[in-house]
């Protein structure tokens, strides 16, 4: 009897092996694409099946319907987000290969060693400067361009950098900052300008600490378009009669901006500031492509990658990721709170 069962098992094994191999070991683009189609079909089939079943049976209890709708999403979040997060926190208390519990040592190292203090300082610099500068530039641009003849074109120009990947932007700006000796022919636009006004060329990306600012400019360049788009829409949404009432009350120019425009677009301003702050905290691509985090320009996200995948210090990398996570939380909370307050005003 046992033998028959065993044999049956072997037979099943024999017949399903090609299918399993096809599913698990994809090689070549065609195979991968086909696998993707199969995965999508499988997902649609399973989800559709569940929802159709719930929909068909009218007597299905309320909780079952809830589980059918929310369950898949919850499961995806659990496996894709919550579990990895917990796992990361867990491994941040272990040594480089996870074999030994070392308590808070990784965190102590991150906050005390000058190499990592520099990383934290740089991140702070980024998070302070990028949102403020990008929002300010976006706001001024939105106000200046609003209702002019070339508004659409001007806005498109400003928004264009948003559509470029950060890696692409990094490469573009590396050309902008490109260094050649003063006597040589210049390829970098900025150094060419320096030469034209009679100054020596500068190693924009090498000279610390100002090289951080030159990296920050790239991020501002990308994010200002986003700020401008949201803020221009918010300015447009201010009711005409409120602006007219303010004109009758004696407001013009700067005063109108200070007393009416800014308070009216406050919710949008907060959204823009916090959104950019979050994007900035996670910045990685720009630093990676432009300086590799060298010359005193590394930021938390870059360092976390560096430690995890270059230095193969999983524990320290995890600790840096957790620090990043903790830093983002207050911004998210502030963002959500402001949204609630602004909903109350309306």
């Amino acid at each position: 009897m046992d033998e028959i069962l065993n044999n049956a098992g072997l037979w099943i094994e024999y017949y399903t092996r090609p299918v399993r191999e096809w599913l698990l070991d994809a090689d070549g683009a065609g195979h991968k694409l086909a696998l993707m189609v199969v995965a999508i079909l499988l997902f649609v089939g399973v989800m559709g099946g569940i929802l159709a079943l719930v929909d068909r049976s009218r007597r299905a209890p309320g909780w079952l319907v809830t589980v059918a709708f929310v369950g898949p999403a919850l499961a995806a979040i659990t496996f894709g987000l919550i579990y990895p997060a917990l796992r990361t926190i867990y491994s941040s208390f272990f040594n480089r290969n996870g074999s030994e519990f070392i308590g808070m040592d990784n965190y102590i190292q991150a906050f005390t060693q000058s190499q990592f203090q520099l990383v934290l300082r740089n991140t702070a610099l980024w998070v302070l400067l990028v949102p403020v500068l990008a929002t300010l530039i976006g706001l001024i641009y939105a106000v200046v361009v609003d209702r002019t003849r070339f508004e659409k074109f001007a806005k498109t120009l400003m928004f264009l950098p948003m559509s470029i990947s950060m890696v692409g932007a990094g490469i573009i700006w590396r050309f902008m900052y490109d260094y050649k000796q003063t006597s040589a022919e210049q390829t970098g636009l900025l150094n060419q300008l320096l030469v034209m006004v009679g100054l020596d060329t500068k190693q924009f990306l090498l000279d610390s600490p100002e090289n951080n600012f030159f990296l920050i400019i790239v991020m501002v360049w990308i994010q200002a378009g986003f700020a401008m788009t949201i803020l221009a829409a918010a300015i447009r949404a201010i009711p005409d009669d409120i602006v007219e009432a303010a004109r009758l009350d004696g407001l013009t120019g700067i005063k109108m901006f200070r007393y009416i425009t800014i308070p009216s677009i406050r919710p949008a301003l907060v959204v823009v500031l916090t959104t950019i702050a979050m994007a900035t905290l996670k910045v990685f691509d720009i630093v990676r492509t432009m300086t590799n985090g060298n010359f005193g320009t590394s930021v938390v996200a870059n360092e976390f990658y560096e430690q995890s995948f270059r230095q193969l210090n999983a524990g320290l990398g995890a600790a840096l990721a957790v620090i990043l996570f903790v830093l983002v939380i207050p911004i998210v909370i502030y963002n959500v709170r402001q949204m609630r307050i602004s909903e109350e005003i309306r």
Partner: protein
Amino acid sequence: MATVTYDQATRVYPGTERPAVDALDLHIEDGEFLVLVGPSGCGKSTSLRMLAGLEDVNAGRILIGDRDVTDVQPKDRDIAMVFQNYALYPHMSVADNMGFALKIAGTPKAEIRKRVEEAAKILDLTEYLDRKPKALSGGQRQRVAMGRAIVRQPQVFLMDEPLSNLDAKLRVQTRTQIASLQRRLGVTTVYVTHDQTEALTMGDRIAVLKDGLLQQVGTPRDMYDTPANVFVAGFIGSPAMNIGSFQVADGVAQLGSTRIPLERSIVGALTPEDKGHVTLGFRPESLDVVSQGAEGAIPVKVALVEELGSDAFVYGDLDVPESAAKEIHSGAGDARVIVRVDPRQVPGKNETIWVAIRPGERHAFSASTGLRINA
């Protein structure tokens, strides 16, 4: 306090041919409550906004008192405006909303507080001074908008349909409040509305506009008793006047077998362009129910009766040949007339009643120009 004068004031919106306001001539006395009324798109709001300085004046002048303000900034015109949607600043408290203009003008804080509190007391807003507009009801917001105007102690109040966002009951209540407040403060007021009842009840005088042209200015009594043309006749009064075109022969207006005698002066005023027709108007309340044989009796077949308690209105079809009936219309539609009847003796549906126009309450207009012909 000051007068307001429109002197041939014209507004043409860019990209349009026809002026939104065409050579408006209007003089408003010091302390007067003038109502600009007309259907939507008639230019009444534009006229008001020209006075406020929110709209350019393309030709002509506007004067406040003796001062030409045509090219003066809105804030320097010494006016205050109440907007249809109130235009309260959502991020400021009620007190800040009301005192904002003074704050910008640099008035001392104590003075602002005093004036705001006074205005709040007049308008019953004292307990809401620290609230945001969001936390107020529609009626309260409307009062804040009024308060914002009062606090400025301007020469002229401008009001742009300030009651249109209130419910019917509150509208009637606020209507009287605004009117009595204006009489008390004695500030010259220009008030825009599309509602002729509001115009009749609130205004010292009414100006009726249509297609950017001023049709008639006068007291509510003038407008009701002697409308200058067919448009004003049909616009002022509720329910609307019955108006019809009648064939004139032998000094009588004919409608089917009905003959309505006309004064000689009216017949004499007809011109060849009128093609032997005259336009007659008669209000629902100017009709008496009479017996069939009476002179000028018009047969009306009752279609619907509206009972309002104090009054009853019969909506009826003219019981005359089709072609003649088409010429008559009222607020209820073509070939329909409205008759006010004794609410205690209401005719039944499909019954035919005979009505006659009360002597002296018939309005005659030229069939070609629409202008009033005085008997």
